[in-house]
Amino acid sequence: MTSFLLLATVILIAGVIAVPLASKLGLGSVLGYLLAGIAISPILHWLDVDIIQVQHFAEFGVVMMLFLVGLELDPKMLWAMRRRLLGLGGLQVGLSIALIAAIAMLLGLQPTVALALGMVFALSSTAIVLQTLNEKGLMQAQGGKSSFQVLLFQDIAVIPMLALLPLLALPELAGLGADVAHGGGHDDGHEGGHGDGHAAISLVDGRPSWQVGLITLAAIGSIGVIGSFLTRPLFRFVALANLREVFVATALALVIGIALLMSLVGLSPALGTFLAGVVLANSEYRHELESDIDPFRGLLLGLFFMTVGAAINFSLLAENLWMVVGITLGVMLIKAFVLYILTLLFRLQGADRWLFTLGLAQAGEFGFVLLSFTVANNVLPQEIAQIALLVVTLSMLLTPALFIFYDRVVASKFAHDQEAEADEIDHSSPIIVVGYGRFGGVVARMLRQIGEQPVLVDYSATQLEMVRRFGTKVFFGDGTRPDMLHAAGIDDAKMLVVAIDGKEQITHLVEYVSRHHPHVHIVARAVDREHVYDLYQAGANDIVRETFDSAVRAGRSAYEALGIHPYQAERLARRFTKADRKLLVDTASVHKPGVRAGDNPEFVALARELNEQMEEELRNASTGFGVQASDGWVPPPANLKTDEPEQGR
């Protein structure tokens, strides 16, 4: 227990110090984690920690990241980009493998070894690239989208690679029971228990291939079924309990469960959770899932990057420094060359071309997976695998530097192009309506009338179920929570409509958003008169009393029912509204936050005085200048003089 606490403390402190420092220096969080990992590696050695085992645990962050990526993509979008997915991704993987393998063969390696190395190095780092693109807000840029498509294809390509690699086994290595320095105890599901000395459970081991196929298909199908049919009633059931931690637990159970299912049939858990994410992308629980899973993803990915840094074998590196550096640069050059060719074929231009070329040039975490797998299957000799491991690590370590290069040199050069493309990310500057009840519902319908598609968030499971019947899409979640707001897109939002019940919550939400997202225009629902003052203090742009307008309309109906001409009734109602608003402003000076108006003698006195003043004015002013403005048309004096111009009567 103590050693676990010690380990956790060391890791957390290192991250807490290094990451803000790296961000401040403009290096990005990924490099921060990597450096933190390097810094603590002596301590971890001294503690005798199995870094690689920690790394396999932390790889679950990648799984969660792909789940979140899937949530952002609905099936329609995925289908729409199938050509680029296959074209860009397929060519990147195919050409990279071919070129790397060819050069490795020229350097005197055996064909099978060269091919295996090609596969290991062809894959890029989903973790680093997506994390960095998200941080820099480049996911919507053409270069970011294309990078994502390639990464997605690579994640899928891992599966056939894992199937192919055992065929490349070297007869002379067989029976040696080779074990890379950290290959032992490795079970992240990619090999589904393919004998690395660990007794893993598998549904497919030792079955004929047609059964394996069927079981695999069934597993993938079950993700679709679970996602489409089972999650909604499940989440609704959990949401009714109204306990946030239970919802978080449910979300975790979903992701981990699907990862487990994939492991059992020997598929990539990352791919499985990605599919689950895609299935749930249309769900009203999407934003809640996002905000629940995201902290885990962040922590695990951070841990993952730290283990990458910590796992660097410095003595081996020192012995082969120039070779490792040479191979790393060579691999990255080859990959960048292939990527650059692709930008020509797929017409990526300007800053996007360089983002794509530089961003994907590294080898990635799937390389680690493939390396341990190849050694276990006697494809690569241990010495080569160890060097390759260093190459993958070093290339990942260099990636943040390339992104910095992109930021400082490329992006600034093409700054104008970026501006011209601003339209493209326009759809991601949404209007968020928090609270979809009687109030928010009307606002949302009015927004839809002008073609806006507001993001609707509500925390009532029953309400949610009701509006779903009318075909309206409302996201389940507590809109007053910062992480939920983040998931709903507050960072790029142009407007927030606060339409929830509950004074305190409304004020709190307005305060938070106006402080942390000052660019967002806030339209807030005020419960009563005093609440207006609170919301003004809190920084709301528009404050609307929830019942005032309807009450004025009721008053107007009463006027009409009394036989007052409808136009006169309308004018009277407007006059009342104006006078009431004036009263609100005039009494603001004596309002005390937290004290009800009725309990504030100063407030009562002033309000009474102003009220009397107002009525007095209205009584006396039956004709003459100024009355027309508030009371409508009044006749000129009746004692007519013929030499004085008169308007009609």
Binding site: W633, P635, L640, G648
Partner: protein, 200 residues
């Protein structure tokens, strides 16, 4: 003929003359009466409904006080929206062709205020040319307006009753097609006093 009366007065409760005229209008059988300010207190004029109303009428009358040598603003709003291109004028805009377009106007100033020597500077019919031209562009027949001068000075029993009674007779005559258009347009301005010259 089917007669439609649009009445507009933003201070209806203050106007003795228009109140009396409204009562007269509503006493005549078979007249469609619309108080525009009551129908559209928030100026959200229902264009389709108003066009429908025009289509089923033969005589279209506007009854209003002369404000700043023009109509109260809601009539202008009504014109701007209802007399659409393609409906009232322009290509295919012949839906109102042949209908009669006229007014019942109350003027605050006395008769001698109108004309080159009066303080209003122009003859009343000169001031009403926008209405006249509107009728012409919409292929309608413009009919001389029924006018009350010096309306502010008139009170119940002091010239209002004859005017309101004249308005009633005028509406009945229009309904029963007993008005001589030639005689009316020769007059320029119809008043309670000269009604007998134009009703057959």
């Amino acid at each position: 003929m089917r007669v439609l009366v649009y009445q507009a007065h933003p201070g209806a409760q203050h106007s003795m003359a228009n109140k009396a005229m409204n009562a007269a209008t509503q006493s005549v059988e078979g007249i469609e009466f619309v108080d525009l300010y009551a129908k559209y207190p928030r100026f959200d004029i229902d264009v389709a409904a108003e066009q429908e109303r025009l289509l089923r009428s033969d005589v279209i009358l506007f009854q209003y006080p002369l404000f700043w040598y023009s109509t109260p603003s809601i009539i202008k709003e009504w014109q701007d929206l209802v007399l659409e291109h393609g409906f009232a004028y322009g290509t295919g805009g012949d839906k109102l062709a042949g209908k009669i377009w006229s007014m019942g106007i109350t003027c605050g100033a006395p008769e001698d205020a109108y004309g080159a020597n009066g303080y209003n500077g122009f003859a009343l019919r000169t001031l009403l040319t926008p209405m006249e031209q509107t009728a012409r562009l919409c292929h309608m027949q413009f009919l001389s307006p029924y006018v009350l001068y010096g309306a502010l000075a008139k009170r119940e029993g002091h010239g209002l009753s004859p005017h309101a009674e004249g308005w009633r007779r005028w509406l009945v005559a229009l309904r029963d097609d007993q008005v001589s258009f030639e005689a009316t347009n020769a007059l320029g301005v119809v008043q309670a006093e000269n009604l007998n010259e134009v009703i057959q």
